[in-house]
Amino acid sequence: MEASTPKVEVKPVDPEKIKKIWRVAGILAIITAVEFLLAFTMDGGMLRNAIFIGMTLVKAFYIVSEFMHLKHEHKVLIWSLGLPCIFVIWLIIALLNEGSAIFSYFN
């Protein structure tokens, strides 16, 4: 096995890059911890739900842009993945409306 494996040169570690990865990890952990804290200290309601959704979107942004590296990809790729998500927004509006309509029909 060893004989057929070519000798490869390992590039040195860039501490700046590693630091950045752990910084993003720290941000994700802190946001999750705050979410967890708010679930117990804050009364449920529209405001708390809005805060939760906002924090979720921040976490999603960090995962997609840094961990999945999309922020550093070509613009055309970013747009061709981002634009189709408009359909998701449409489905949220349509189905939540539908749910409320059924609710008022039964109550």
Partner: protein, 256 residues
């Protein structure tokens, strides 16, 4: 339409062929577009949850008091998911699912570190971090198995339901949940729990299998021979997506 496509000799535009207009390899692009289609699948499931939740009245009792389940209103998750292994009967809302979230985020971080080591052609680094990622994934799956088992077997008290059997109302106690019965609230709540966390769990399972295959290839030196570690990047994209979906499931199924 006599001619649907014309090849212009000597075309030099970005989209004229022979170039990478998105500056990414074929495999990576296909992984991205697969993940986009998977986004729609998970959106469909989570939005269906939202719709059914809007269809039922909200939980009418005080959330800090004992849980009173009923098929007439939607339960609140912090009263349903309050159990932790080895702590039977202790009310610890969302603690276990919080631990699961941290495990999955951590395994995502180790995956980024594996991809970073791959960029530097550091085989030992990739091995180490991919192994940690697999450990994280397996731990998460174990936690989810426990969570499912607890949800299926139910609490000590259960819920009293009235059913119309042969023209008579008969009272019975339902404990636990499956696709036909549910002690926690409307049937749709249990069905969505199984479908959403089950679909996500299937993704975690296939992610662990893919990670293991790539880990094996790393160990036997496939990517050193190939000259790059792009396969690690591709399974990395998939693994981060699994983490991303969990972030949304955590918020919309457990927190809100």
């Amino acid at each position: 339409m006599s001619q649907t496509s014309t090849l212009i000799p000597g075309a030099t535009g970005v989209w004229g062929g022979g170039k990478e207009p998105m500056k990414a390899s074929y495999g990576k692009l296909m992984m991205w577009f697969f993940l986009l289609s998977d986004t729609f699948s998970f959106s469909g499931l989570l939005i269906a949850y939202g719709m059914l939740r809007f269809r039922y009245p909200a939980y009418p009792h005080n959330p800090t008091e004992a849980f009173l389940p009923s098929v007439d209103y939607w339960p609140i998750p912090e009263l349903v998911f309050d159990a932790v292994p080895f702590l039977h009967g202790v009310h610890l809302p969302l603690v276990f699912v919080g631990i699961m979230t941290f495990i999955l985020i951590l395994s995502s971080v180790t995956m980024v570190l594996a991809v970073e080591a791959g960029h530097r052609m550091d085989r030992e680094g990739v091995q180490k971090w991919m192994l940690w990622t697999i450990v994280g994934g397996v731990t998460f799956l174990g936690c989810q198995a426990w969570e499912w088992s607890h949800f299926i077997h139910g609490t000590d008290i259960g819920m009293t339901v009235e059913r119309l059997v042969d023209g008579e109302w008969i009272k019975s106690i339902v404990t636990g949940a499956n696709l036909a019965e549910n002690q926690y609230g409307p049937q749709a709540f249990a069905d969505l729990f199984f479908f959403i966390t089950g679909f996500h769990g299937t993704h975690v399972l296939s992610g662990v299998i893919l990670n293991f295959i790539i880990f094996y290839n790393v160990v036997v030196g496939t990517y050193d021979k190939r000259g790059h570690y792009e396969m690690v990047e591709k399974v990395g994209l998939y693994w981060h997506f699994v983490d991303l979906v969990w972030v949304f499931v955590f918020t919309f199924f457990y927190l809100i």
